[in-house]
Each structure stands twice: as C-alpha cells, then as structure tokens.
Subunit: 448 residues, 2 copies
C-alpha cells in the first residue's frame, strides 16, 4: 500500500447524503458513545439483552427446518437448498409473517404481498426508491421524524415535508395543508410516514379515532400511508388501538414490520406488506410487493435465509404471537418507563422549568429543558457527568428540538437508570438552577 | 381487505428501474424457470449444492463465538451481544476478511477499510450510490456486463458506458476513448467495473500484463476501478494472475468480495475494500469505507451478525483459505467445464456454424449461434426440448448479444449436463441445420 497522505476523493464530489446534517449528527452520537464507554446511556433504542440466548437461535433454526420438512413436506435436500442456496427474492417466511400479523395485529393479508427485508430499514428504502420517480415526488412525515426514514429518503433524493404533531400525535389539518401546498408547487406528495404506537422519538400514540381520520385523509387526498410499528408489542399492558393496516379497506397502507425488538436485532429481518395493485407498462396488473421485490434484487438479492430461519423458528415456537413471547420484556420496559417517569418527577420537583411527556408504552420519553440540548452539551454531559442522551435536534427537519432531549428506557437496568437519573439531575441543576424567588426563570450558567 | 379490481399505482409513476429491460429480462428468465421446473437448466450461476451441510453452519457459528471468547477475550455477555444486538455498521468479521485476503489473494489491507455487506450486491450498490453525486456522473463497464451491476446503477440513475471486450478481455484503447468522449460531453467518468477472473457472463480473464496496463490507465485517466472477484477461487488448477487490488499501489481499486460461491449464498455476506482517502467538508480525512458505512446505515443498518458468524466461523475453520476449502468444488467445476466444452465439441462437429469460447475456469461459457437467441427461443427451448440457458442479450447495453447464449456449468451434475447437451444439440440442429454443401450457411427453419 502507498502511504502518501494525498486525498483521493472529496465528499463534495460524492452523494449529498454523506454531508447530510442528520447523518453527521448520528455519527457524532456514535463517536461520543465510543469515547465515553463507561457513561450510562439513555441514547440507544436497543432492546434489553438479558434474554439473549445463543442456544435458542440454534433451536429456532432447527425448528424452521423441521417445519419445512414436516409441515411443507420438503425433502432433506430441499431443506438444505432453502437455507443455503440463493432463494426467493420476497423471502421464505412470508406465510409465517402473515399468520403472525393475523394473530397479533388483526391484519389479514395474502402472504404474496409480503417482502421480507434486511431489517425494516431496507423495507423503508425499497418503498421510497419505488415511489421516488423524479424530482417532483415528496414524502410527508410527522415531525420530529425517525432518523432511519430521513436517511432512506436522503439516499433517493426525496424531500420529506414535516407535518406537525399537534395534540393528536398528527395534526391532520396540517397534513392536508402540506399536501395541498406541495401540489400547488407542482410537487407530488406520495405518502405520509407515521408510527402510530409510541413513536420514535416522540413517544406519542394515535387514538383509534385519529387513525380512522388519518385513513380518511389518505383516501380523500390520494396518498399512501407508511405505517411503521416496531413498538406496538410494548404497551404498558393495556394493548393498543388497531393498526392502520387492520383498518385499511382501500389498500392505502404499506405496513413496515420489524423483528429487531420482538425477536432480535442480530437477525436483521424486517418486512413490508404492500398489497397495492400496480399496472405495468405492458398492461399487466400485479402486487406492489412484486415491484419492491425487483428493487430488492438490485440492492441485496434476497434476505439471508439463515436469518429468516431464526425468525421463522421463533414465530413457530411462540405459536405466531410475539406479543405473548415478549411478556417478560414488556414487564421490564413498563417498569423501566415507570421508574424513569417517577425518577424524573421526584428529582425535578415542583415548579421545575423542565417538563416531559408520559407515554403509556414504547421506549422513549421526551424532556423539554430551558437550555440548548445540543452536541456541545452532550459532550459536556458525557465528560463531566458520565451520562448520555439524544439531542432531539437530530429528529427535526429545519428548525426545532433545540431545547429537547430523548431518553430511552430500553437498555439500562433499573439500578443503572437510578444512577443515570442522578447524573442527569446534576446536569439539569447545573444548566438550569432553580431560583427560589422565581422558579420559572432559571439562571443559565456558562458552559464549562 | 377490499377486493375491488381497481389499480392503485402505475409503474410509469414509479422509479424507472422498474421498467428497465434488463430487470424485465431477468424476471422473464425466472418466470420461464418456474413454469418449466423439470427443464434442465444451464441458466443459473448457483454454486454446487452437494456439500451444503446444516450442521456445519451451526458449527461455524459456534467456532466464531469461541474465537470471540478465546482469541478476543470477550465475556459470555459480550459474545451474546455481538451476535444478537445491533452492532458495528462496517461489520464484525473485517479482521478475518483481511487475513483471508492476505492468504488467498495477496492483498494486504487495514481491516478498517472493509465494509461487510449483504452480499456483494449491496457492496456494489453502496459504492455506486456514493459515487453518483449528480447527473454528470457515469460508470464504465466491460460489455457484456454483469446484470447485478447494471441493476445497482439503474437504482441510482447512473448511466453505464460499455467498454469493448477486445482480444484482452478489456479493450484499453476503447476504455480511454470512452472516458475522453464522456468528458467532452461534460460527464464525469468515476470508475470502471471489471471482473478480471472468469467474468460473468463472458468467461474471459485478464492477463497479468493487461491488469497492470489497466491500472496505468486508471491512474493516468484518474478513475477508480471496481474489481469484482466471485470466481477467482475456481480456476482450473493453474491459479490466476494477481488481483488488481494486490497490484494497486495508488489506491485506485475498490475490491468487491463475495462469499456466495466460496462459503454459501444463504449467508448473504459480501464486502467492499475501500481504502481511498476521503476529505469531508469540515476538512477531516478518513477512509472511503467510512463513507460507504454511512450509506449502509441508511440501507440495511448492518449485516446480520449471525450470518457474519457463519462466514467468520468458516474462515476460522479453514485457516482463512477459501481456495483450499473449495478444493472439492474446484474439481467439480473443472470437470463440469471440461465436460461441457468436450460435449459441445463432439455434438457440434466440424464445420458447425456454432462456436464457443473455452475459459480455463469459472462458471460460464458463451456460445455464438447463427440464429436469434432471444426470449421467444428460450420459451421454445424450454417447452419443446426441456432445456434452459440465458440469452446474452440481457448483458448488453443497447445492442449486442442477439446471437449468443450463456451456459453455466455450476449447478448441473455430470449426467444432467450430458442430457442437457443432447437437448441443446437438438435445439441447435433445429435452428441451424448444417447443409452438407455449405456448412457455413445453415438454413434457418421457421420457428415452431
């Protein structure tokens, strides 16, 4: 290798996503995390690790092989070929996913409408790549936005128009206004992305009536809805309203599914349900899933059948209910969420200028603070207090979130959370000390 | 679900790749294959299946876990986390891949320059997405071209300019001419894609001196080379010249690696080696692999660590030499290639208007015929003769390949090949019967 220090490429000559502020922010977060490995982190939305079990993975793979042999009648050779060889682009666990959706989410679908993907991220990418035909095509999303969506949209040069959260989790008047304003500018709003249950990052959920109203708007305004549902199984115990897809009578909803939180992230298996009817130039009609499959063949060819076998085996072993399979995890997340909320309340005290929302499930709580919660403060928080969190600024398009931070409840133990909350409280006290005479106007100390 | 037959989307309103002729052709091929499941197929470039062994996969996963614990000193908890949790975007087997490249390919690299991908297809996609900044950016490729490359380029709207094969496997004069003509049109040729060993679909290889000359051209003309090497291990026994990356002293080569043929397709693990130095807008310098990693985080987040563990374990068990691990497979492919070539020779006879090339390794032989080898003929071949092959037309940009077909030697047994060759010979005899008086001008019967 040549060791000359010359530069071969400039990012200015590479795709613009590489200089995107959101991407840069996420990289900064990863960098801070790696520089302060001992810090307690409320940043990552990773699932709890205490139930990870390597032997269970081997068992799930074997269970899937048995299913192929015993239920589908495959020969030994066919089982080996299914797991080891190139295979069906749309995947091999589509039938099992359809049974899971029927059992857990009240969604009844033709398995042919499923595309199994490399995590939900690839599902988002495939859908956006298909929908972005030219520079007129735009996407809508409730803001603050999931960064995975922002990233996928950047990769296909598709602008994302922010829709206000409002009091319902999505401001439908603003949605309609954004759609119409975009059309007046000659743009084509194709779809609106939404996480109806315990959204990342806001923690907000939509009521049943808001869901129905959103479907009505989609129908009236002729847009698709991209429903992403990674946290629905982690309600506090009360369940959740029906998914948009379960209520969808007009094929308006593309359902994006993930097994990262309900089975394990390491499988990297997700899926899209895309039952829309598509007519091709030669006049043939087929499923949108088959168009996504064509794109998938150019991105990853197919999803590892070994990884699919792990997820398929888990579905079989749990009789298709991941809601049931995650009973232990749900209790942990519920207890952690309560601990975080109670811990914040008791540490902040009455009259604190700091406030936060109280979701009934999911992984995330948003905290509003009277100082800038930016990357400098995160660095300071890591160095001086040994505690990490996510600046909400990352999740806004344009401006917003400067005074908000996101706390995740999923990856710390109870004891770690208590210690982490003590550290956070010290940071908050430093940044916004409450003056007895005027608790609403805290002094803002200089950054150290 | 609503059962109305109305159409929700038109492909004309979706991304143009969905109406791309190459993609449509590959779909047609899959469709014919599924309609004639009993046909003997010379079409797929799939590896031989006889050594697939599910228990070996479990063993490889365990071997990788042992390596993490014993060689890297991971705790049990860290091993579980590494395999089950979200992880490093660039992958977890980069160090093992570096050792493999050193052992098998004479390539010495910093493991940090490796990005582990979901098959080689994702590696191609990441590189092209990074290099295609705007409509001026174009790619070059030896023509006939690998369809996976064409597909990835279509997804990022990057034109691929064909470079003639010539007598050396790549016509370097044509390469220079294409680069300069493109620049005169205001275009930016970024890279040239090439498979130096037993190319798909042509079967052609580059000599050592052509490789050096190609690197000189890349340096002089300031373009990158994308070296794809899925078949290098399957030489006839004589070895291959050094890879371009092994000869690369100027960081001109991005090496694209695949384990689909050397370990198993079902892992869907490939990689890119991208050691180019990149300067970002904020003046920092880093590796191109880190830029590809950012894009990967928006496409698939990371490659399944379970799948990586399977490949990593195989590398460990085989002491990093997949060339050695594939000794049995190499013999099968060598024997099959000889059987195909001898079988074609003996069946065609002297004076046949049908000719073919004779590669010394790899999976593919190209046959030139005096009739159109198109989709209609493929359908006819499947229906009447029960034999499948790939029209070379798929692999040409614009025109070319109308009278060529590709035969793969990798997935039929010897006995199946003999039978398949009999069927092919019958098709050829029907389409180009040799007239005793003028063997060079066969009659062309009407299609039935």
């Amino acid at each position: 290798m040549d060791d000359s220090p010359s530069v071969d490429l400039l990012t200015g000559d590479l795709h613009s996503s590489l200089e995107d502020p959101t991407v840069a922010s996420m990289n900064f977060l990863n960098e801070v995390t790696s520089r302060y490995p001992e810090a307690l982190s409320f940043a990552p939305g990773r699932p709890v690790e205490s139930f990870f079990d390597l032997e269970a993975l081997h068992g799930w793979m074997r269970a899937f092989s048995r299913y192929l042999a015993e239920d589908l009648g495959y020969s030994e050779e066919e089982v080996r070929r299914t797991l080891c060889q190139y295979g069906r682009t749309k995947g091999i666990v589509h039938g099992l996913i359809a049974r899971h959706l029927s059992r857990d989410a009240g969604i009844e679908i033709d398995p042919e409408s499923v595309v199994v993907t490399v995590g939900c991220q690839e599902a988002m990418f495939l859908v956006l790549r298909a929908l972005r035909a030219d520079a007129r095509d735009v996407l809508l999303s409730v803001s603050p936005m999931y960064v995975g969506l922002t990233g996928a949209a950047r990769l296909v040069d598709m602008p994302v128009l922010p829709v206000a959260t409002g009091v319902q989790g999505i401001d439908l008047d603003d949605l309609v206004a954004q759609i119409r304003a975009a059309r007046e500018q000659g743009l084509r709003p194709r779809a609106c992305y939404v996480m109806p249950d315990f959204a990342n990052p806001s923690g907000r959920s939509l009521t049943a009536s808001t869901r129905k109203a959103l479907l009505d708007v989609a129908e009236r305004e002729d847009i698709l809805l991209l429903e992403d549902n990674p946290y629905g199984a982690f309600h506090g115990g009360e369940g959740t309203p029906p998914t948009l897809k379960a209520l969808d009578t007009g094929r308006r909803v593309i359902y994006l599914g993930s097994f990262a939180k309900t089975v394990l992230p390491g499988a990297r298996v997700g899926y899209a349900v895309a039952d829309q009817r598509v007519r091709t130039a030669d006049g043939r009609t087929g499923l949108f899933s088959d168009q996504l499959s064509k794109i998938k063949s150019m991105v990853t060819v197919n999803t590892s059948p070994l990884a699919q076998a792990v997820v398929g085996g888990a579905l079989l072993e749990h009789d298709f209910s991941l809601e049931q399979a995650n009973a232990r995890e749900r209790v942990i997340y519920r207890d952690n969420l309560r601990r975080l909320v109670d811990g914040l309340r008791s540490r902040l005290g009455k009259g604190s200028p700091i406030s936060f929302n109280v979701p009934t499930g999911g992984f995330f709580v948003c905290v509003s603070v009277p100082f800038e919660a930016d990357e400098d403060l995160l660095e300071h928080s890591a160095r001086k207090y040994g505690v990490l969190w996510t600046p909400m600024r990352h999740f806004y398009h344009g401006t917003g979130g400067e005074h908000e931070l996101r706390l995740s409840i999923s990856s710390l133990t109870g004891a770690q959370m208590d210690e982490g909350l003590d550290r956070l409280a010290a940071l908050f006290a430093e940044q916004a000390p409450v003056r007895a005479d005027n608790p609403r106007h805290p002094m803002r100390p200089a950054r150290t």
